[in-house]
Symmetry: C2
Subunit: 679 residues, 2 copies
């Protein structure tokens, strides 16, 4: 039991360190009266959204838990304890709590980051990054402890998969709902404020400005936290499932390895966070290096720890296992770097998109979209090579280990990612509270950095989603007995039909979420217009807008719109398994990974590239701010918003969720005859 | 031999009817001096492009023919006759000739359509539609005779697959090259002429106007002819291959059925063309019905003929075979109708895109893109259902038969499709020759009709491409012995890696072609700008622009840019088969079909929807012509151009070409050990 105690201990250390960091962060000065007011408004809006989101999801969670208990635990597994249902509820709660904590810290950190920016760049970086660390460490700590405890109690991989399902389903709704909220508020307030009324971004006269700030927190922070919580948990579960099979040996070294690796990753991440600091007047490159230093150091530490763990467990094929883990780490780094290449204006692709702004919005869109499609090349090669290498060495268990390796340093990579929205919000608060220009300059520097790390983080999230969903697919195939039946053969009609439907789902899902943003944004546009029209003296700054109503409209829109895409992801795998059978479901999963991976990368890269092409033009290229080129580039940026912040990131969860639903329901598919066989 | 003689006879009838129609068409008056001048310029430009395109492809064809002869015929098949190489060259030549004839008729028909429009709507419709018939019947006649003759001579499905390869490779280059040409000239002349100089579309003062007209012929007519020639031939070859297996029994009823069905389709198509006529002052609905009448009548006739053929051949399982054929016909109709629903402004999706023009270009783009993604739903269900039904009845042979059924009426469906660009061009000539306004009104009516039939035709082309490439994939799997080895198992690392790479290829391919349009258009923009600047009195109509130079620049740009995407499609399957093996190649093919099918539909529908949303705004909605909404809608239309006319349609050929390359090279993969097994 010593290894498992060590694993639980490292999870505990993560949570303790998160609490310690949070307490230190809350002691930081939160600025003047006006800043605190703004901060409180954001805090209240975000808390209200999250509360209503969780209340909306409560009946869903209860219904699914009952279904799982009856269908899987009692009927298919013939058990008297509803273990899978309990795991499911635990996963849902942990995911919700992780999102809740991350968001609560973020909304408190943004005003403190703005206040610290009054003193200098380094204090501001420390505060923003600390809040990211709290989020990152909470996610990994809760994830690891949750999986480990359930594994010790039930010692059954099918049951702990329920934990992943719970986490996934909350994550999907959080990503989709938060993504719709943030973009509806952003687009809605910008379209009326910036374009129609001609007031600057983040201006306090804009009724949608608080909703926009709230959106950054509920979408980018809470949504991303839930997303990666899910990836993290999913990768560990798939590795245990593929190691232990249906044998469920808790003492199995193969099952211990992913847990211990995750524990080692936590320690490495905590050590890495100490390296993130910068000097005053740091250049962009120096700031970026401050963050990178922490990530690289953690990765190197994990590699060393991994060697130590394999040595300690005295595993045969130790070198093979080590190579699998390292391959995952390297693939993640390559994908992150490639995403940065395609989206940063330091490099040719995005410079080319900016150049196309000279001939209008259409050419910006075409070239940005082409850049996004082109950017699938390197990630596919990286993932393809990882699959070939890891499988040659340890079959699907090797692929799962590569996924765990990639995500082992999540504690710190998530910190650098979650830090971005906090810095962005700090800038908004500085603008609204009319702080000195140098404060805004400092927060802008941190924000620009956040955009780069966000692009890298997105590549990272997509890569981990691909590996995790492939490993979960293999775990599902194992649980459904497909390996023994000759695999998943695409030369069968049911598999072929399943594969085509699977390839279609990410397209339908993206269409639904993009249209949802459009509808929700339209409601915000109308409300902002109404306030400008009806509240006298608003534009002159003599009256206060009704911020709350905009938050409320965004909330209602987002919660209404998240239902259908969310249900689609849960219902489709179950329907496919029951109608066309488990093998067709396997086809559907692989089809969805194949097309979903490509669209997710295309959307993330195109969106990032448009965003940065606009920034490049704003730096004075091709006419600079206010020129026709700038207008064209802004259109590209607006198109990119739902691409990169709503549809694209939600796709990651769609892929993983469908795979884990299949894994959880696999026992049902083995005892129920698919409908097609009756025809 | 009687059945085969009947098949050859129906091919001969198609060609005779095409010649007869062509002669009658050439007797039609070609208008006044000015019109003839314009017509001659278009004719010369198109002929020059085609000549240079074929010359550019000549070395490629020779090299591939030698490679095929050495690698496949001599080495892998151990034959002393280079049968596959001969088939390959024959396919390439037939495809080139079909494109050449179709284009030569089209460039002669456009000026005659304009001249006939001076007398009325019905004569103009008859002329434009006749030219489409010549093209359609040439394609099916040559395709059917080619396959049948080679089949009689060699009696080997592997060898006749070479015919399909030859046709595909020319088709891909023609589609890509023509697609780049047409959009480069279109975008280039519009951006400078309409936007910068403020002169109307098709104005004779615009130096790019002839190049734009030439583009309609080389891209939409020649490119589409080659594309569908290839689908037609490919579907017949795959059906024969799956019927005869490696046994190659020429007397086999299963091998005779697709040939006779194609022959019956030709007769049905010819009879259908007689129904296409309209009254003067026909409404849009009546014009559309005139075309539909012909298509529906042909489809019903084919169904009757199919029953007769199955009865004549006295086949067991006759009803099953009949249902397979009918399923294909119905699937094609459903996909065509669905495409029309998503792209016509008569329906909600495109109206919604137009509505979004009120809030700017970005919202037009987002909603159009979402519409495109959403439009994958019905085609996937239609193809999925066809796969399930046809396979349940007759396995992959059933799927191939469904493909042949879908394409059996190609003679007339292609006619309604190829008619569009002719009507479009006739309008351009009427504008340039400053004919009376009612002439332009009539050609506009025919053009609007052409847009609708083009959307339906695109859906049809995509659906047939999906079925054909799946049938070719099955034929490849059979030839490579994969069925006997347990199928194509995606739970193997090589298949999985192949599948991901396959899913990526359509993205890379689309990115390459979109960027190619951008670069080629940029060259045209510069040339048109130069002429406006340097040729004195050009804008006042006192000097003639140098049309030829624009044609020349478009030609050079298109031919240069078509090379890399074209080679990619040929090299990738061979490389994959040699490196990771035949099963991984199967994975790659299915991956490319899965993602390529979705992107092709998305691009076709989004492009069509943007185009028609612009037309809807021009009808006076949301501010009408010249309003901000109109400007936003125009941006959407420009984004849609490369989507729907370059990248999207080229994807169909990419999928089929990669499948047929695999089929042709299958004998090599069975004797060569893949490189991965050496590692």
């Amino acid at each position: 039991m010593l290894p498992l105690i060590l694993v639980l201990a490292s999870g505990g250390i993560a949570l303790l360190f998160a609490i310690f960091t949070a307490i230190r962060l809350l002691r930081v000065d939160s600025g003047n009266q006006r800043m605190r007011e703004i901060g409180d408004a954001i805090k209240a809006g975000a808390a209200a959204f999250l509360k209503r989101e969780y209340l909306t999801l409560l009946p869903f969670v209860i219904i699914v838990a009952v279904l799982i208990g009856v269908l899987i635990d009692f009927y298919a597994l013939g058990s008297s304890t509803p273990g899978t249902a309990i795991s499911y509820v635990a996963g849902a709660i942990c995911s919700a709590v992780a999102g809740f904590i991350g968001m609560n810290i973020a909304v408190r950190a943004n005003v403190r980051t703005a206040a610290s920016a009054m003193h200098g760049l380094n204090p501001a970086l420390r505060v923003a990054f600390s809040s990211g660390s709290v989020m990152g460490l909470t996610v990994v700590g809760m994830g690891l402890i949750g999986v480990t405890v359930l594994w010790i109690i039930f010692q059954n991989t099918s049951i702990i998969a329920g934990f992943g399902f719970g986490a996934s389903s909350i994550a999907l709704f959080a990503r989709v709902g938060g993504g719709i909220f943030t973009k509806a508020a952003d687009v809605g307030s910008d379209l009326v404020g910036k374009v129609e009324a001609g007031i600057p971004e983040d201006d306090p006269r804009n009724p949608g400005v608080i909703a926009d700030n709230v959106g950054d927190n509920v979408g980018d922070v809470a949504g991303m936290g839930a997303d990666l919580f899910e990836s993290y948990v999913g990768s560990i579960i798939s590795a245990i499932a593929l190691a232990a099979g249906s044998m469920a040996l808790i003492s199995s070294k193969e099952a211990l390895l992913p847990l211990m690796l995750a524990g080692a990753g936590i320690i490495a991440s905590i050590l890495g966070t100490f390296l993130v600091r910068s000097s005053e007047n740091a250049t962009f490159g120096q700031l970026l290096w401050a963050l990178r230093k922490g990530i690289f150091a953690s990765a190197i530490l994990v590699a060393i720890f991994a060697g130590g763990i394999i040595y300690y467990l005295d595993m045969s094929d130790g070198l093979s296992l080590f190579i699998c883990i390292i391959t995952g780490l390297i693939a993640g780094t390559i994908i992150g770097t490639a995403t940065e290449y395609y989206t940063s204006y330091e490099y040719k692709p995005t410079k080319n998109v900016a150049e196309n702004a000279q001939t209008g919005a259409a050419t910006v869109i075409i070239s940005g979209f082409a850049t996004g499609m082109m950017s699938t090349l390197i990630p596919v090669i990286a993932i393809g090579a990882t699959i070939l290498i890891a499988y040659e060495l340890k079959e699907f268990y090797g692929i799962a280990l590569a996924g765990v390796g990639l995500l082992s340093t999540l504690g710190i990579t998530l910190a650098t990612d979650a830090y971005g929205p906090v810095a962005d919000n700090a800038g908004g608060i500085a603008e609204q509270a009319q702080l000195a220009p140098e404060v805004r300059q400092r927060t802008d520097a941190l924000d620009a950095l956040g955009n780069t790390t966000a692009a890298t983080g997105k590549g990272f999230a997509i890569g981990s989603a691909a590996l995790t969903s492939l490993a979960l697919l293999a775990a599902f195939a194992q649980a459904a007995g497909l390996f023994d039946d000759g695999g998943i053969n695409i030369l069968k009609h049911t598999t072929l039909a399943g594969l085509l439907i699977g390839a279609m789902l990410p397209f339908i899902f993206s269409a639904l979420t993009m249209n949802a943003v459009g509808r929700a944004a339209f409601a915000v546009v109308n409300e902002v217009r109404r306030q400008f029209r009806e509240i006298e003296g608003l534009l002159d700054g003599e009256a206060t807008p009704d911020y709350e109503r905009c938050v409320d409209i965004s909330t209602r829109g987002a919660l209404k719109e998240m239902i259908i895409p969310g249900l689609l992801a849960v219902i489709m795998p179950i329907a496919m398994g029951l109608i066309l059978g488990a093998e067709a479901l396997g086809g559907m999963l692989i089809g969805s990974v194949a097309s979903g991976f490509m669209i997710a990368i295309t959307m993330a890269s195109a969106g990032g590239s448009w965003d940065n092409a606009k920034k490049y033009v704003e730096l004075g290229h091709y006419g600079g701010k206010g020129s026709d080129s700038h207008k064209a580039a802004v259109e590209g940026d607006v198109v990119g918003d739902p691409f990169k912040d709503t549809s694209g990131p939600s796709l990651n969860i769609l892929l993983k969720l469908m795979a884990i639903v299949s894994l959880v329901f696999a026992p049902v598919f083995t005892v129920v005859t698919p409908i097609i066989l009756y025809i």
